[in-house]
Symmetry: C2
Subunit: 174 residues, 2 copies
DNA sequence: TATTGTTATACTCTATAACTATA
DNA sequence: TATAGTTATAGAGTATAACAATA
């Protein structure tokens, strides 16, 4: 049962540097937030990187819909294109996904006629993955779309800034 | 049934700039990939941002385990800390999650005694979210840990580069 | 004995529809 | 009529265990 309560308190957007001071809230302070202060989270690399990744992925989903490719599909097929004969295991390693979760993807690609499996020349257990000609054609298009998309999402960056961003991100994860 | 096949072909790691040329693979080329070439993917912002985010999250999971907080838990409680009285709806908006998926989280926080719900002063349908004193204490610690973690994951960046990275990422998603 | 690819399965995360109470 | 919070549930994504074939 909500009390009718008193009045709205304005939150001063002025100066609160992202701190970690354990200030205890007075237990009787009625407050209504008008605008959410996310400055602390926005000071964290992980938060910013995730937000940026999700923003790019949103555009990616739109533009790759014509090819019926999810981001992970695109990544897998692109790696196969640039590494013909790559094995499932290697693909899993490069994409950071687990073997059981790749099986279905491979099967779908085969059903769509984009991909072929061939006996591995050195290891009888493994199979080399290769794009078919239609697979090549599709991925040539899709990679062009990705390159265009890249320009659009980094629209507010100079080419130099874009390369800097790449380098800095790789210093985080490599 | 795999054929014993022929011989291994070395892949020249030399110069292949990330291109989009639709080169058709000769259908009888036996190849074994020794090292996966990920250069095309590494030229894409989305890929790099995602990899960086995942790398940071890995460290995050380790260090926040002592508080039993997942990344989303930390983000939610941090926002509540810096925006006492925030509503579920506002929290969902800020975190990019859907209302039904926040309910369980809120309940767990309440059961742990970290969070209190109070009637909203202006809207009888809504409830303001506030940290309890133990919640404040936990988050003061956790935010310190996050700040330390931040220094560690950006170890290979200067302070200036770290700020640049932040700015560039925000130019992508804001 | 270890590894590749596979199946089955469980667990988590995310998304949708529908309800209630308040506005 | 619209919105805040909730419930139930469906779907996608991710994880583990175990197996056959090959190294």
């Amino acid at each position: 049962m909500p009390t009718p309560a008193t009045a709205a308190a304005r939150r001063p957007k002025a100066s609160r540097p992202a701190d970690t001071t354990p200030v205890t809230l007075p237990p009787d302070t009625p407050l209504a937030i008008e605008r959410v202060d996310s400055r602390f989270l926005e000071s964290l690399i992980g938060y910013n990187a995730r937000r940026a990744a999700l923003a790019v992925i949103d555009v990616f989903l739109e533009r790759m819909a014509v090819y019926a490719l999810r981001p992970v599909d695109f990544s897998a097929l692109s790696l196969i294109r640039h590494n013909p004969g790559i094995t499932s295991r290697q693909l899993c390693g490069a994409l950071g996904i687990l073997p059981p979760n790749l099986v279905g993807m491979i099967h779908r690609f085969e059903k769509r006629g984009l991909l072929m499996r061939r006996p591995h020349p050195l290891d009888g257990r493994a199979q080399g993955l290769h794009l078919t000609d239609p697979g090549q054609a599709l991925m040539a298009q899709a990679e062009c779309t990705a390159t265009e998309l890249e320009k659009d999402v980094s629209q507010r960056l100079t080419e130099r800034e874009r390369k800097t961003l790449m380098t800095l991100l790789q210093k985080i994860y490599l």
